[in-house]
Point group: C2
Chain length 521, copies 2
Amino acid sequence: MRPILRHLIAACEWQTLRMSLVSNAILSSHVLDRSVHTTRTMGAEEQPLVTLSNINPNVKRMEYAVRGPLVIRAGQLEKELQAGKKLPFDEVIRANIGDCHAMNQKPLTFMRQVISACANPDLLETDLFPSDVKERVKLLLSFCGGRSVGAYSDSAGVEIIRRHCAEYIEKRDGIPTDYLNIVLTTGASEAVRAVLALINSSTADGIPTGVMIPIPQYPLYTATLAEYGMTSINYYLDESNNWQLQIEELQRALDEARGKCNPKALVVINPGNPTGSVLTHDNIKNIINFARKEKLMILADEVYQHNIYAENARFYSFKKVMHEMQVKLELASLMSASKGYMGECGLRGGYCELLNFDPDVKAMFFKMLSARLCSSVLGQIAMDCVVKPPEPGDPSYDLHEKEKSEVLESLKHRAQLAADTFNSIPGMKCNIVAGAMYAFPQIILPEKAIKAAQSLNQAPDFFYAMNLLESTGVCIIPGSGFGQIPGTYHFRTTILPQPDHLRRMMEKVKKFHVQFLEKYT
Amino acid sequence: MRPILRHLIAACEWQTLRMSLVSNAILSSHVLDRSVHTTRTMGAEEQPLVTLSNINPNVKRMEYAVRGPLVIRAGQLEKELQAGKKLPFDEVIRANIGDCHAMNQKPLTFMRQVISACANPDLLETDLFPSDVKERVKLLLSFCGGRSVGAYSDSAGVEIIRRHCAEYIEKRDGIPTDYLNIVLTTGASEAVRAVLALINSSTADGIPTGVMIPIPQYPLYTATLAEYGMTSINYYLDESNNWQLQIEELQRALDEARGKCNPKALVVINPGNPTGSVLTHDNIKNIINFARKEKLMILADEVYQHNIYAENARFYSFKKVMHEMQVKLELASLMSASKGYMGECGLRGGYCELLNFDPDVKAMFFKMLSARLCSSVLGQIAMDCVVKPPEPGDPSYDLHEKEKSEVLESLKHRAQLAADTFNSIPGMKCNIVAGAMYAFPQIILPEKAIKAAQSLNQAPDFFYAMNLLESTGVCIIPGSGFGQIPGTYHFRTTILPQPDHLRRMMEKVKKFHVQFLEKYT
């Protein structure tokens, strides 16, 4: 990071973010409540008991841009189109969230066959499914209570699925893995929230627990830290260097935070969301050394581990690098069935591996999770199909490999298309999309546009994104929802629309951007 | 409640509960971590960073008995039996948790056909399913992103399912219902946790937010309140009066709590868990008047609304009674796909209706939920089949009605069997099981048994339950996990084992109890 930018951070960042929050909050209450106002007719004698002034103030503070006002507005526009209203576009393109199937990615045949027969074992009596599907279903059901996916699993998940996760990690990293360290979760989000809840001693200490998070970041982190009254220690990823993570910037962020909070954990998202970057082996090594020196546990968000596109990039797990270094630091590594080539977001499958944790602490973690009973058993089964896909020789193998490689190959092309298009637009620049599912281009906004935004009490990039949506139907999320160096503006778009769709979208963005610049210059 | 008992409460209750917590915690860490100890070989130079002394103290305090040490021990015994070890019994009977399918209840055909075809729409091309199943699947998928259950839904759930929930409530109560007040959740547990998080202003106020909960209660409530640093205001249900809820006891509990916390909500579980009681219309009316007078919102846990067995009992929703009274108090009403006659616990479907909430507050609630993205779409679909079952004339109707009534009829017989058997055992007495899925008999423990328990630092009823498990393989949960008047002892058992199974279990409990009394008298 350039030193000249650093001193800006403390001064401006929160102001920019706050402005965005305010405008978001106003809009979101406005949009959500229209219909409610009409149904609420509380008698004059009865005043509301639960009000904005007495609810949890942390809930008021939290913000979650990828599901925020832009997305709500996109939904309204879709309904207007359906109702036949004339708009300047004929479709809404939802590039706001990494939701593969919503963008018409086809589910994997093997996984959906397994899930359907687990839900309805009568199907095992038909000849609809290959033998490996039937065998998997019988194996999985034999580990479910009453052989039904309708029974609760253990809080940590169905034993055989935890074992399969452990085998997957062993195979990936070449390191023995204990299935008792694995817990199956509702996507990866639940694991993030649980780990942060576990280490949060803000109330007890009177000093907020601090967690280092990358900026830009996936807003689950800031939202959860806000909800829990914890402090985000923001470290900036280096945009001028393909969003790599610089150790000196980690140090700067931590040094500035010490005394203001009690730093306990370092979050790393690799491959990066929203940046699309992939950390190098050396980089991970340095991060681990930093965490060790500074006594921070590591929360490795590795949900995009299958999404690597750049020729020279490779996924290294924090577990593997830590093992090579013979370091034994507490590590929580997260995985999900929602991303990768399967993209099964709606099934809510995920797992978390807890490594090197004190056994007593781990017992507390498991106890805490037991209060939510268990994650969806069908979501766990989705995770099973991810960590244990058909093997060579299995009847489902060829089709599964074909489906998987087609998705990944297509995403690779779309990653390239997105970055190339953005770089061809005047006033826009974009790093290579080396992994994950997003591009995060920087946009240069004219002074007049910034002023127009401010007059509406909106963050400039929110103003840009809302204009884009209203003019073209393209829904992207402004950089202020993820964090960015103050005075810079970005947006995040997924690369998930199908190729033709993505091309159309890129043309719309390009045309809009040129017109926007003309209007405000 | 007898006045003589009241003064005991403040003095003894927490001591009894704490004793149980201590013994539970010791056992649970011991059991969970055996295998972990062998895999953890941290170098001498690296000390654990995350320890019991620096994690979230609220997590340490929370306790969740229905998934606690007894259940873990039951799992071990099952494994020992499988491995051929000789034990005093040949099966473990898990009567610890309301997990219908684990107890071999058969899933409903209609629901499982819909779920399997939603997961695998290729099945629509076969002639395996009746037309109403296929139509439902097509309708549901038309409301999913990319027509796939793998797409995220809106945070509040799939629109058509929310609408079906609203129709269900309208039909049940005869009151217009706005689908925008419905949010689909991961079981009912997620809704409980979200509502409590919303109203928790403990940190901001410096005074803990208080929530009135019944004792005995479902331990999700105490666990969540502990995790959130909130205060449980315990009101005792009247065991001598079939566990009815007495207004004077609500008043006593609240009066004693005022000044120590900031009471904001009243939780009512109806039909009752673990008590099996069903509130009368009059009782609900008085509770609403109390809440209104004391300015408390109501959290109505109504997940057992289909489970009514007693001839003179009927389910009245808080919504319906409030509507009749023309009272407009904030009400959160919870429902689940896990209970009733469907018992689909593993699918994690549920909904929450928020009634009479300030629109701004509701917007905050929805925003908070958006950070967890959405609940399992297949779980939502399970909920859809519950709220919109086949109708007369539909091809699936007859079979569905037959399956449903068989389950409910059988549960009714088992409810009677359980209470009758317990009442036939010397030193045991049990209220009528009018609804839900549990019996909560009181047991008179001899002084010698209490002393034996204390010498092991165990709550006496925990000692009893562990002895029962080790001698007979029957896993029930001691009353101390739910709360009880100090000096009284209970246990909760589900009535879910299939009829023959339940009879065998009852005989085992009877025989054990007699021997236990002989040994300790």
